[in-house]
């Protein structure tokens, strides 16, 4: 019978998901030669950075990529951080790693380029004083829309969650739990870090209603849906809205009037790292103004690097107004923080929303 053998391989495929995490943590092979292992999102730092780092400091480094915070978090928690020296993770995840004792305290004397950061960058709530993390980029989550095709420019979360009739089925929302729920929390005037189970439940119900008017949940291609006109209003990270603006100047970004979250992507050194001197050298290297400049010019994200932001071509600020948001304006938004146990309630809320009819 042709079925049996391949059926089992299909099985193994389904199972691979479960075991992938357990087996994926790299062994200690990379450290034998003293090479720095850095995990970052793909294309989130200059391509030639590691070569330049080696030329400048003599330290060898290799890059591995992760697609999501959750992915690298899973690997690091499973392996106690072994096999990694430097990680790029969002602030609330850095905070969770710190609570687990998986990240190293930073030695500021070895990172003189910290002086390049805005003063506001040391006041971030997930890590005041940058004791274990340095911010790499920051921004807001808001509404990205086709100003040439919507009748009235959106101003608040209701425009997304209770869209006007002509926008029904032309709206997308982010699917990642914190941002999906965050939109619902903010609409009701709650905190993006809400922990009250009753309020989380009510928010799930609210977002379940919104689902009826959505085109899709989309974390990756929402800006191209705007470019094609398939969607007219999307829930977006400011930098990603800029990708749309780059292709069509009528695509605009607005921070909802009720306020939104401030997300921060950070860099940490693992507690398990045996190359801490090299890791500190890397952090210092990445704080050079030209790296920050690359992030804003290429990824179109703001960075907390004052020297880098000031060296940007001012024409960029006109084309992408959200790049011009000042640190003071950013800090008015509410920072995403680790919610610990409540994460479980968030997961359930998201399942309720996704299962809603």
């Amino acid at each position: 019978m042709i079925g049996t053998a391949s059926t089992f391989s299909g099985f193994a495929g389904a199972l691979a998901l479960g075991t992938m995490l357990a087996l994926a943590a790299p062994g200690g092979t990379a450290r034998a030669d003293g090479k720095l292992v850095i995990s970052n999102w793909d294309a989130y730092m200059p391509k030639d950075l590691l070569d330049r780092f080696k030329a400048a400091t003599g330290y060898e480094a290799e890059l591995t990529v992760h697609a999501t915070n959750e992915e690298i978090m899973g690997k690091v928690v499973a392996g106690g951080g072994k096999g990694y020296d430097v990680l790029f993770v969002s602030g609330q995840f850095a905070q969770a790693l710190d609570k687990l004792g998986l990240v190293a305290k930073l030695d500021h004397d070895k990172i003189p380029n910290l002086k390049n950061l805005y003063p506001e960058a040391s006041q971030l709530k997930h890590d005041p004083g940058n004791t274990f993390s340095i911010p790499y980029s920051w921004g807001t989550t808001g509404l990205c829309y086709r100003s040439d095709l919507v009748k009235a420019a959106p101003t608040g979360w209701d425009d997304l969650l209770k869209p006007a009739p002509e926008l029904v089925k032309k709206v997308t929302m982010l699917a990642t739990d914190r941002w999906l729920l965050g939109a619902g929390f903010k609409e009701q005037g709650l905190s993006v870090n809400e922990t009250d189970p009753a309020k989380i439940k009510a928010t799930a119900a609210l977002l379940g209603e919104t689902k009826k008017s959505l085109l899709a949940y989309d974390d990756t291609t929402f800006y191209s849906k705007l470019v094609s006109g398939e969607a007219l209003l999307v829930h977006a990270w400011d930098g990603w809205c800029n990708y749309g603006t780059a292709e069509n100047a009528a695509i605009k970004y607005v921070v909802p009037k009720e306020g939104t979250d401030l997300w921060v992507d950070t860099i940490v050194i693992t507690a398990a790292s045996q190359n801490k001197a090299a890791a500190h050298a890397f952090l210092d290297f990445i704080l050079q103004p030209d790296v920050a400049k690359w992030v804003s010019e290429t990824v179109m994200y703001k960075t907390p690097n004052k020297a880098g932001m000031e060296s940007l071509d001012k024409a960029l600020f006109e084309k992408y107004p959200n790049l011009a948001m000042t640190p003071a304006e950013l800090l008015k938004q509410e920072q995403l923080l680790d919610v610990g146990k409540t994460q479980k309630d968030y997961a359930r809320a998201v399942t309720e929303i996704m299962a809603a009819k």
């Binding site: 079925g3 193994a12 479960g18 357990a22 969770a96 899709a216 996704m354």
Partner: protein
């Protein structure tokens, strides 16, 4: 002698070892993990033993996701069998020298990556896509239809992806059919329809069952198609398990869900194997 017990075991060892390593060991890991609590920051708290995860699987919210996935997988199965049977029949009726070519054509889509084929459906089905373009241009509809990001789109994607498996398994069954039985049926006065229903269909049922179980099992565990063609709005059990492992970082609950899914699949496979076995015995007796 190669048939000695030891050498036979030796020959079986690589395959069995593979299965043990990548099926039994992971299953065992899942099984153990399902009995602990999630650590506050994800991972597993091996200090805290619990049966809660299995109790949670029975929560109506998750049962509904299970039933919803079963519904989608069943729809895909029914559509695929209806499409595959005539195709398999046509191939087996074609001149024998054509069989290899026709079967090759059935398998051809597999030369393209699964994700790319799924993305292709997004290009075809979206509001600005080829299908809507043709519909509007030909005046069949005035406005583009919302085809993408819906349950039917997910069913379509699953059928498209797994149809070749179903065609192949039904083809195997039909090509093994003793043509003399069909002639006998005709000689005894049965028309084509009657011969099909009374003789051909029952005898090819094992092939249909193999194909059906195949696509059902693959579909119910699928999460990529539901994500891409359902626009994240069609929640299948595969997505739920994926989310538990990769988003909620609730590995114990994810493990419990995965075990229940595996148990359901196992039951189906055993039922199908039993059916095939019974049919083989009946065939031998006839």
């Amino acid at each position: 002698m190669i048939t000695s017990r030891w050498s036979r075991m030796l020959l079986a060892a690589p395959g069995l070892g593979w299965i043990a390593l990548f099926l039994l060991v992971p299953c065992g890991v899942l099984f153990v993990n399902a009995f602990f609590e999630r650590g506050i920051y994800g991972g597993i708290d091996y200090e805290a033993r619990t049966l809660d995860n299995f109790a949670r699987v029975l929560d109506p919210l998750y049962v509904e996701v299970f039933l919803g996935s079963a519904r989608v997988a069943l729809a895909a199965t029914v559509v695929a069998v209806i499409l595959a049977y005539p195709a398999a029949l046509a191939i087996s009726l074609a001149p024998a020298r054509r069989h290899t070519l026709l079967l090759f054509l059935v398998m051809l889509p597999f030369w393209t990556n699964y994700l790319i084929r799924t993305y292709a459906w997004m290009v075809l089905l979206n509001r600005k896509g080829l299908a809507n373009g043709a519909l509007v241009a030909s005046g069949i509809t005035a406005e583009p239809l919302d085809m993408l990001y819906s349950e039917p789109a997910v069913v379509l994607g699953l059928v498209y992806s797994y149809l070749p498996f179903v065609v192949l398994s039904i083809y195997t069954s039909i090509s093994r059919l003793d043509r003399a039985l069909l002639e006998a049926s005709a000689d005894l006065g049965a028309g084509l329809a009657r011969t099909f229903v009374k003789v051909m269909l029952p005898l090819t049922l094992p092939g249909i069952a193999t194909g059906a179980v195949f696509i059902f099992v693959l579909s119910i565990g699928n999460f990529v198609t539901a994500d891409l063609l359902g626009g994240g709005q069609v929640q299948m059990i595969g997505n739920l398990i994926y989310d538990q492992f990769l988003t909620a970082r609730d590995w114990p609950f994810g493990a419990a869900l995965a075990l229940v899914l595996i148990a359901v699949m196992m039951l189906l496979l055993f039922a199908q194997a039993a059916l095939a076995g019974r049919a083989a015995r009946r065939g031998a007796a006839a």
